[in-house]
Amino acid sequence: MNDNDIVLKVEEIYKSFGDTEVLRGVSFDVRRGETKVFIGPSGTGKSTLLRCINQLTIPDRGRVWLDGEEVTNSGARINYFRQKIGMVFQNFFLFDHLTALKNVELALLKVKGMGKAEAREKALTELRQVGMEDWADHYPAELSGGQAQRVSIARALAMDPDVILFDEPTSALDPELTREVLEVMKKLARNGMTMLVVTHEMGFACSVANEVLFMENGVVAEQGPPDLLLNDPRFTRMKDFIGRIDSRMDD
């Protein structure tokens, strides 16, 4: 596989809600197997950006390309692209009426049209990936936050996506559970999954990210590989911001 192979292209995304300009021209390319981490103050449009990529939010302007095909303006084909763009949410959003196994199976059956036996097999494989196969028959209400988030990662993985979007996947978790979810994500990164991750976990960013993008006021204000950003005096705003979240954590 070509290392420079661009799988996701985001071009000049703009989005306003009423009078509020939330995204003001965001562009970046994602190479296959790459992990990009997005950080920045809350309300700067990080969630909106991720949701514009899979069109859960329709951008006012700009384009998104997946593997050379345009995702924006794709009409009903959006459901095809969404299979290839997984998403993991801060609050998991597991299907509350289904067991862990059925959560992972559902889209395989209803979207991919897979047979029952095959879907089950696939779902169990993905649950194993995230260390949740022993919990296959438990309902979301019976899982800890960390377990629920791992199931939701398995649910995204099951579609064999080209890229997974993580929107603050550990922000609803306490430190212990955060660690187990980050472990799973690190493993995915090592195995070559392409990931866009909004997070404030700088440890994760430094160890996994190929690039960190610092967002502020709807634009990418600074970006670069994590070691450079942390050590280079040019990246002052991001360091200020990281300093602020670190001191908040020390409180």
Binding site: F81, R82, G86, F93
Partner: protein, 225 residues
């Protein structure tokens, strides 16, 4: 006069009223779901005109006394649209059902709206169409949420069904008053009828609560766990 032997003589006739009363209730409940659920979906997911039509429907059927509705359809609307030949039973059941649909649609609507918005977002993010998401994710949850409230429609419709007496449906109350006319025994006969209503009421609720338990899922507040 010894009441008990007379009561026992008439009991089979009295019990025969159960069939048509339960018939009214089951048709009305069924019609209520059949119409009420699509109405609820229309109100939550539909375009403005659909929401408006459903709103007017609900306002109309919840706004009028059941007796007025019954007379309106029996003497007015059905004859006017060429359905004057329908039996009193059919008209009674349909009116109870139309009215039930108005109430049930609001129970379903509330349940659908109480499913967290994240459920739809997650479903769509996996590539499900809106329809698939509604069918496979939203409705299975909404139905469980709705069931306790929906179960309460059963006693409501059961007790309302007695009003069909007024248009001559031969249901429990009609039969009861016929027996009273024949035997001139009043209180014991009405008490017997009341007893039957109570048994039907209690028995039906028991069945519905059994259903709630059967489909209960950890974390879902059906109240039956």
């Amino acid at each position: 006069m010894d009441v008990l032997p007379i009561l026992i003589d008439w009991l089979p006739y009295l019990l025969s009223g159960i069939v048509s009363t339960l018939g009214l209730v089951l048709v009305a409940l069924g019609l209520g779901v059949l119409l009420g659920l699509p109405m609820a979906l229309g109100q939550v997911y539909g375009a403005r005109p659909i929401r408006w039509v459903v709103g007017v429907y609900v306002w109309f059927f919840r706004g009028l006394p059941i007796l007025v509705l019954l007379f309106l359809f029996w003497f007015g609307i059905f004859p006017a649209i060429g359905l004057g030949h329908l039996s009193a039973f059919v008209v009674g059941a349909v009116v109870l059902g139309l009215r039930g649909a108005a109430y049930q649609s609001q129970i379903f609507r509330g349940a659908i709206q109480s499913v967290g918005e994240g459920q739809m977002i997650a479903a769509r993010s996996l590539g499900m169409s809106r329809l698939t998401a509604i069918r496979s994710v939203i409705l299975p949850q909404a139905m469980r949420i709705a069931l306790p409230g929906w179960s309460n429609e059963y006693p409501n419709i059961l007790t309302d069904s007695a009003v069909c007496y007024a248009i001559g449906v031969v249901e429990l109350l009609t039969i009861t008053s016929r027996i009273v006319t024949q035997t001139h025994i009043t209180i014991p006969i009405y008490l017997a009828a009341a007893g039957i209503f109570i048994v039907l009421n209690y028995g039906g609720l028991k069945l519905l609560h059994g259903l709630e338990k059967r489909i209960a899922i950890p974390g879902f507040g059906t109240g039956a766990m």
